[in-house]
């Protein structure tokens, strides 16, 4: 929202400090500024000039004008404006003037004529938006006068308030509201030109007669009050320069005096209003009615709104005039021929306006204000201000009949809040003197009654609609105006409680450390949102259609990802363009439908990519280490079961089935390890080999909470070992050879491991095993050793691994 400081000065005398200081204080006390714009510096250089002589310029549409700039000085300038004529008074920018667009006026030569400066349009000086011709001044203005003296209001500073910082302040969507803030900030008086005598003087301009239009408000609508009046014999014409200038500076395009007054009053007092051409209203009654059945309505801007039974309309005999709180229809709009007006100033329920506005997709200056919950007691003042300006700018016009008001909600007492001063100071952490509390609240319009160390504070109606409802709201008012910068930071006195992150948090940290220091991997982040395109490229069969967003802005990110794997494959495809090999990991979430709506699974994914080498064994070893890290002592790695798991769907084409393993424990599957299938790699244009590990952090965090480890006394007696070589099928994992031995605990055998593997003919291989032997409390006899060896050999034999001679 744009605010003119000159306009604000209509109501409050700002101190003689720099505008930077003023705007700085607005930021610290009231609302955030988006910008400050200075207007009218150029008017200090621009002078009033009279056109004395005009000559056509050969081969040009321009004219050569000799102008008098007072003090006996004359200049020759070139001018192309259609309205230039001898004897007119207009504005002249001399050579050296810096224009609002930043350009400096220089001597220009066109068609052999030198132009010393130029004559200006309103738009060129940012006086207004009219660029159709030169500024036309009255005959009485003396030549040579500075333009700033002719248009003093146009030398102005406009501040741009961040609308978001006013969301809670229905009273601040206008100049008068900000004038009150500034009066409080500077401790100066806020003028109230809208008092009872003013009201009476305006209403005195009316002809006593019956109101030409009656109003009927259906209580089933969202109407919170409806004031109306009629004015006859207005003359629609351009607004005077001051009015056009102010509207222009606060970003509203001037149209004609009637429309401009409507906008002006809204920007001054914060309540939207409507002015209708009464000749275009059918019948003598207008009604506020709810929409009965779905219908459509043509709006002022020519678009069509589709309405529903929750919306409210203002209608006449013929049909809709206005979509309540949002915008008018085209039919009753004021035009150049309008003579008689109907003025409407209404208030509407904030939530109803907001709902309709969001649904039909139309947001206007009106709806923006109604959404904030406006004060119905201000309808009357707003209506009178509009009548005031219309009758002032159209002196021959007359108010016809009384000012009507109806549809007001039952009158309620203004809320009164008990404010304890000790509590105020406890919350702010400082001590504001009681007289300052009183001064600030009073200046903001609150009524304060002191009672010991507390105050009974009555909220003004314009702050009572929603904004101020409890003592904390008052504490904010006092705090901000007193100055937050005066509060000294203080450490709290509080209990000391040892803290330790939750198991999942701890695990996320230790697994990230593990992936960096043990996995030698780089951490990446990918989007939790995904699109069908990537899921299809990854051949991922679960599409999470249940978790598609209503308002995604891109089909590439329109749903929650069902797995970290497609995202990781995408990252792999991207990075293999830059690097020959790499390892990366991500700690993230996957999302699946379930529970109340969606289940979020905390997972870690690790990817190792190389051009040639297969890294499955390294990936499996990494997982074993990770299980040890998390004390998951009952978890084992085993070939992936055929049903698939929550990590990878059964028969996912992207996985090399023969390499796939799962982390299994009695509590379920908590991870997978696999190589990506060459077919998927090819289709994703990845040239190389990739191994992937996915682990459920939810499952592992469970293990971390319980450290199962226990010390066993060290056996200091010497250990010995026996090597045995057996033969096995070439494609039997050596792990199977060990597994049989480890399952049967052989007394004295404390470890079994592989020494070497070498290939044999006939699809066989020789596997040399080492048995680690140690006896508790002593050393083995030769017989005992032989017995160990024999037991081992016979187990191996019965498992299909005969001893090689």
């Amino acid at each position: 929202m744009l605010l003119s400081l000159n306009w604000i000065r209509d109501f409050v005398k700002l101190p003689a400090i720099s505008e930077a200081e003023i705007t700085g204080l607005i930021t610290l006390r009231t609302a955030e500024l988006d910008g400050v714009h200075a207007y009218g510096q150029v008017l200090e250089s621009v002078l009033v000039a009279e056109v004395i002589r005009l000559e056509p310029v050969k081969n040009s549409s321009l004219k050569e004008a000799v102008i008098d700039v007072g003090g006996g000085r004359a200049h020759t300038v070139l001018c192309g404006a259609p309205n230039v004529c001898v004897g007119m008074k207009t504005l002249y920018a001399p050579v050296g003037t810096t224009l609002p667009d930043g350009k400096t006026v220089a001597v220009k030569s066109i068609a052999g004529v030198e132009s010393h400066g130029f004559l200006c349009s309103e738009a060129e000086l940012m006086l207004g938006s009219d660029d159709s011709g030169l500024v036309v001044l009255g005959r009485s203005v003396a030549t040579g006068t500075k333009a700033s003296a002719v248009f003093p209001d146009a030398v102005d500073t406009v501040i741009e308030i961040d609308n978001k910082s006013l969301t809670h302040r229905p009273d601040l969507w206008c100049h008068y509201g900000f004038a009150r803030e500034l009066a409080t900030i500077f401790g100066v008086e806020l003028a109230n030109p809208f008092d009872q005598s003013w009201r009476q003087s305006v209403l005195n301009r009316s002809i006593e007669t019956a109101a030409p239009v009656s109003v009927n408000v259906d209580p089933a609508t969202c109407c919170l009050g409806f004031a109306w009046g009629s004015i006859d014999k207005v003359t629609v014409s351009p607004s005077p320069a001051w009015l056009r200038g102010r509207l222009h500076r606060v970003g509203i395009r001037p149209i004609n005096n009637i429309v401009d007054i409507g906008n002006y009053v809204m920007l001054e007092l914060g309540i939207p209003l409507h002015l209708y051409d009464r000749a275009k209203i059918k019948g003598t009654e207008i009604r506020v009615v709810p929409v009965r059945a779905p219908m459509s309505m043509e709006l002022l801007d020519g678009s069509t709104a589709h309405l529903q039974p929750t919306d409210t309309l203002i209608v006449d005999e013929e049909g809709p005039l206005v979509l309540a709180g949002i915008t008018g229809g085209a039919r009753p709009a004021v035009s150049e021929t309008t003579a008689n007006l109907l003025l409407e100033v209404a208030n509407w329920s904030a939530s109803a306006v907001r709902k309709t506005s969001l649904r039909v997709g139309v947001r206007t200056e009106s709806s923006l204000r109604y959404e904030k919950s406006l004060d119905s007691t201000l309808l009357n003042r707003t209506a009178i201000r509009a009548l005031d300006l219309i009758t002032t700018l159209c002196p021959e016009s007359r108010i016809v009949g009384p000012l009507g008001i109806t549809g007001l909600p039952p009158k309620q007492e203004l809320p009164s809040i008990q404010l304890s001063l000790p509590y105020l100071n406890e919350i702010l952490g400082t001590s504001v003197p009681p007289q300052d509390v009183e001064r600030i609240l009073t200046a903001l319009g609150f009524t304060v009654e002191k009672r010991g160390d507390s105050m009974s504070v009555t909220v003004p109606s314009y702050r009572a609609t929603k904004d101020v409802s409890c003592d904390m709201d008052l504490i904010e008012e006092v705090g901000r105006m007193w100055g937050y910068e005066r509060i000294t930071p203080m450490p709290p006195q509080s209990h000391v409680v040892p803290v330790k992150p939750a198991p999942l948090k701890q695990l996320q940290r230790s697994i990230a450390d593990f992936m960096v220091y043990r996995g030698k991997a780089l951490e990446i982040m990918t989007y939790p949102l995904i699109g069908l395109d990537l899921l299809k490229r990854a051949c991922w069969p679960m599409l999470n259609d249940e978790l598609v967003l209503q308002n995604a802005w891109s089909s590439d990110f329109d749903r929650m990802r069902p797995s970290l794997i497609p995202s990781a494959l995408n990252a792999l495809a991207l990075n293999q363009k830059s690097y020959e090999s790499f390892r990366f990991f991500e700690i993230g979430r996957s999302y699946v439908p379930g529970g109340d709506f969606c289940q979020e699974r905390h997972e870690v994914i690790f990817v190792e990519f190389t051009r040639e080498e297969r890294k499955l064994v390294e990936a499996l070893t990494l997982v074993e280490n990770a299980l040890s890290l998390t004390h998951s002592c009952d978890a084992v790695l085993r070939p992936l079961s055929e049903e698939g798991s929550s990590f990878v769907p059964a028969n996912w084409e992207g996985m090399l089935q023969a390499t796939a393993h799962e982390v299994w424990s009695p509590r379920g599957v908590s991870g997978v390890v696999f190589e990506v299938s060459p077919l998927l790699l090819q289709s994703m244009k990845i040239r190389g080999q990739a191994s992937i590990v996915v682990l459920s952090l939810d499952a592992l965090a469970h293990s971390v909470t319980f450290d199962h480890r226990k010390f066993e006394p060290i056996n200091y007696f010497p250990s010995t070992s026996i090597d045995l070589t057996v033969s096995a099928g070439a494609r039997i994992p050596v792990g199977d050879v060990l597994k049989g031995l480890r399952e049967k605990s052989i007394p004295g055998v404390v470890s079994t491991s592989i020494v070497s593997v070498f290939p044999l003919p006939d699809d066989k291989k020789a596997v040399t095993l080492r048995l680690g032997l140690q006896k508790e409390g002593g050393t083995f006899t030769k017989e005992e050793l032989q017995s160990c060896e024999q037991t081992t050999i016979s187990i191996l034999q019965s498992n299909g691994f005969p001893l090689r001679s």
Binding site: I487, K520, L522, A552
Partner: protein, 356 residues
């Protein structure tokens, strides 16, 4: 005299043999050659062994004299051999090392090939740092779901259905209009209050989502750290104290902060916290739009309605809450110029922040 000559020769032979041994020892360069040399003297058929075999025919006196000498020499031979052996082994080890020379400069950093870097995402670095500062001051760390309900993201934060404040946040909605992607970590506030009774203090770092077009400074996903402290008598002065301490830690220098009014329905009073511009130290530059201050985080005293939602009596307890954006902090610290890089999965980003 002629009788004694052979005996003299015998002893002399012993000495000569030893002298020969000493001469040969220095040319012995392998363990095997040394073993052979030793064997040729004191082995079964060795010269000294042979000489000793002939002793039994000699008179006792001579036998003793010769025996003493022979044993002396044997000991010397043993000792010299041991010394020589150690020397040979040392030489051999050195030769082996010499033969298998390793190029010490053939390190990963000098060799072409893959990316061998490992390390954390820079956002993790910043997040951990922030977490650690708060942990050190006794704040618990919480998190909540990304897919949230209207209740936790809005209702519980004093933002009812038709509140215009909902416009401040471009929300990603699911079609039921009941579930959404959390727009701020403030959604964890009500969850935290369900978990703890006052006094408590916690932070909730995590991802948030806003439905907006992305560019170098806007991203649909970003990271915040929510913070909340509730106790008896918590004040604005305590809030500014914590913010001061934390920001000094994070920026590693003394940072000036100021509060100004800011509207968020879940705090009252609500503030925008500015820090003095670290680029120009407050003198005014393009980064701070010549104001000397940079907006850093929203904060405020927890609204009584929010406390009541958490079954906390606002007449007994008060508290503060704040929300710190991590992405901008990260970008400020390392000079990252495009927020979209954070989720890009590009290792060319991560590799610049490698641990090793």
């Amino acid at each position: 005299m002629s009788q004694t000559k052979p005996e003299v020769t015998r002893i002399g032979g012993l000495q000569a043999t030893y002298d020969d041994f000493c001469a040969a020892l220095s040319t012995c360069s392998t363990e095997a050659a040394l073993a052979d040399l030793k064997a040729s003297l004191i082995g079964g058929k060795g010269t000294i062994t042979q000489l000793m075999k002939g002793l039994k025919d000699l008179p006792l006196e001579e036998r003793r004299e010769f025996g003493v000498k022979a044993n002396e020499i044997k000991d010397l031979i043993e000792e010299k051999s041991r010394t020589r052996l150690a020397e040979i082994r040392r030489q051999e080890a050195l030769r082996a090392v010499e033969a298998s020379w390793i190029d010490p400069s053939l390190r990963e950093s000098n060799v072409t090939g893959g990316l061998n870097a490992a390390g954390f995402h820079p956002l993790t670095l910043v997040q951990r740092e922030v977490e650690d500062v708060f942990l050190g001051m006794g704040f618990q760390i919480l998190d909540g779901p990304h897919v949230e309900t209207d209740y936790y993201n809005f209702e519980a934060l004093n933002i009812p259905r038709d509140h215009p404040a909902r416009d401040m946040q471009d929300t990603f909605w699911f079609p039921d209009l009941e579930h959404l992607l959390r727009t701020h970590t403030s959604a964890v506030q009500a969850r935290g209050m369900q978990l703890y009774r006052p006094p408590f203090k916690f932070i909730a770092p995590g991802k948030c989502f806003r439905c907006e077009r992305t560019d170098a400074s806007h991203e649909m996903m970003f990271h915040q750290v929510e913070g909340m402290m509730v106790d008896k008598g918590v004040s604005v002065a305590h809030l500014t104290y914590f913010m001061n301490v934390i920001l000094n830690h994070i920026f590693g220098r003394s940072v000036k902060v100021r509060l100004r009014p800011g509207f968020f329905p879940f705090v009252e009073p609500g503030f925008e916290l500015d820090i003095n511009c670290l680029i120009c130290s407050g003198a005014g530059c393009s980064v701070c739009k010549h104001s000397g201050w940079v907006e850093l985080l929203p904060c405020g005293m927890i609204h009584p309605a929010v406390l009541r939602t958490g079954n906390i009596d606002p007449t007994e307890y008060s508290g503060f809450a704040f929300g710190l954006g991590l992405d901008r902090l990260l970008m400020m610290r390392y000079g990252i110029n495009d927020i979209r890089l954070i989720h890009s999965s590009d290792l060319r980003l991560s590799a610049q922040f490698k641990t090793f």
